[in-house]
Each structure stands twice: as C-alpha cells, then as structure tokens.
Subunit: 200 residues, 2 copies
C-alpha cells in the first residue's frame, strides 16, 4: 500500500518535470505570448488534462519557469563577480555585463520575468517573491562600498534604480526599439553607463 | 464636378479624424493589446469597413496614433526646458521629469510607442521614423555641453543610453514590476539617476 502511494508520487513528480521541461522548451522557442497549454502537453507527450492535475493553471506553471530562470540568472550573476579584492565599481561592471549576456542569450526566458502578469486578484506565492530579490540583493553591497554614507533604505532604493537603468538599456537594445542602442554597441554602452553610475 | 470631389474629400478627411479620435479614446481606456477595429468603428459610429477605406490596416492606424503621441511628448519635453542660461544638467533634469510625468499621465499611449510591432516584412514609413528621433534629439545638446570633448557619434550613442536608463526606471516603476521603485519614489529616483549621469 505504501509502496503503491510511493509509486504514484514518483510518477507524478516525473510527469511534473516532463511538463516543466516541455514548457521551458516552448518558452525558449516561442516566447511567453506564444506559450499554449496544448503545445506544452503535446510536446511532453501527455494529455492536456495532465497539466491541470499537476499545476493549478498555466500561470502557476509560468511562475515555476520564472523561478528557474531567476535561479539561473542569480547563479550567472554571482559567478560573474571577480574573486576578492575587487572594487565596488568592478563588481557592478561584472554584474551588469553578466546581466546583459544572460538577457541576450536567454531572451525569451528573461523577458518572461517581466511580461508575466497574474490575473487581477491573484498574488504570487511568498517564496517566489523572495526569489525575485536576487536581482537587487546582488547590487547592494557594491553600492554600500561606493557610498558608505547612504542609509540602508536609500541604498535599497538606489539598487533598484541602478538595476532599472541597466535593464532599460538592455531591453530597448535587445527589442531593437527605435531608441535602443544598436546590439553591437550594447555591452560597451552598459559599461559606460555603469561607469557613470559608480563614480564617487 | 470639382465641387463633388471636394465634398467627397472633405467627408473622407472628417471620417479619418473621427476614426483616429475614437481609436485614441479606445487606446487610452484599454491599452494597445485591447485595441480592436470593431470597438473603434462602433465608437466612431461608422461601419467596420470604413476603417479599411481610410487606413490600410489597424497597424497603420496605430502608427498614426503613435505619431500623435510622439508629437505631444515632443511638445511636453521641449516646453519643459527652462528658459536660457540653464546648465546642461538642469536641462537634462527638466527633460527627465517631463518624460516621467508624460509616461505616468498618458500610460497607455506612451506604452503603445514601445509595444507596437509591425508584422514581419513591414516597415515604418520614413517620416514616422524621423519623428521618433525627437526623444533622442532633445538630449544631445545638453550632453554636448556636459562633455564637449566627445565626438558626435559618441554623443548620439550616449543620448540613447541616457534615454534608455531613465526609460527603464520609469517603465519598471509604472508597470509596478517587482524590481521597480515604488511610484511615490519614482520622481526622486529619476532625479538621483540623472544627477549621477550628468556629473562631470
């Protein structure tokens, strides 16, 4: 009996992973706006209903994908930081360059972090909201080193502003917006921006 | 006979204006993703086909709306610049504040400038592409004053980067993104950003 339950749990976990893997592949190919439950389950080789046995709805599946993207992005950021004795400015430059590379190399997954909205009245689970701070937390220590006189609150706010400024340059360029910098100039312009933002 | 043609032209121009006004009202209410030909013509009090007599397709109508938004935004920017004897930094601050206000007060029209994509293989008319430079052109003289040693090409690129940085902060905040600064801090954070970007 216990054995039977264990088997069922294992099967369910395996199905969950298969659906997530299929959804990620679909997201990479088609972007968030092209993500359809039917395509995901057909790629995963299961019935449409199986998706809704494992996830409440497509939004929850997207949250799971975004959660994985945030983890990968967090790893890319932290492994980009040069080992010890680097200045706050050098760390910020490394983080900005890693962010730019990640966005360029994983464009659809990265955009899904910003494009996905829950329907009115639904809220993200607490643990997902905790994960999101990875983008900001990585910046705070360097800003603190650059401006030790700033309060914790001001530093937290300035970290968001610094992030958003770099994000804006990356976004308009990768989307090839009319006002964006050309792709081949993106990395050097992000560097110039961070240079200005980290002057003491 | 000439009279007859004139009447027809006047009627057509009047219909065009009515459709544009209705489309703008729909855009303001529902945003670009909610813009539907049927709602526009029903609001304008004409048949669905009338829209396609006046515009090639919905995309061309959106280009017309965006063209008007760019003109309004251009006016808001240029009328924000303090009269004479202002420093480059003061002008940049005034432009950034005016941009933030415009985006906040006309959120759907402003977002349509960045959200609208022509289908693969279609290109924006030349005159529309000329209008788009208003956002960048406004910044260049101030940057030139701040950094007279930079080449024309570097200044043009830096103007795009400066614009995109401010845009990123405004965008993430107005969209109430997880990493955006809270709305009530937006104006002071944009000011802090421009302060850093314009230090000599």
């Amino acid at each position: 009996m216990v054995n039977e339950m264990l088997k069922r749990e294992t099967k369910r976990a395996e199905l969950r992973e298969r659906i997530i893997a299929a959804a990620e592949a679909e997201l990479i190919e088609k972007g968030l706006s092209g993500l359809k439950a039917r395509d995901i389950t057909s790629r995963a080789g299961c019935a449409l209903g199986a998706l809704y046995n494992v996830f409440d709805d497509l939004d929850m599946l997207v949250l799971e994908l975004n959660s994985r993207t945030l983890a990968d992005l967090g790893n890319a950021l932290s492994s980009s930081v040069p080992v010890e004795s680097s200045s706050g400015r050098q760390v910020l430059q490394a983080l900005a360059a890693a962010y730019t590379d990640f966005a360029r190399d994983h464009q659809h997954r990265w955009m899904a972090l910003f494009e996905h909205r829950l329907p009115e009245g639904k809220y993200k689970p607490e643990e997902y909201r905790m994960e999101q701070t990875v983008l900001i937390d990585a910046i705070v220590p360097s800003l603190k080193e650059l401006w030790p006189e700033l309060s914790k609150e001001t530093l937290a706010m300035r970290a968001r502003t610094t992030f958003a400024a770099v994000h804006g340059v990356v976004l308009l360029s990768l989307q090839q917006q009319f006002v964006g910098v050309p792709l081949k100039e993106l990395k050097s312009e992000v560097e110039a921006l961070v240079e200005l933002l980290s002057r003491q």
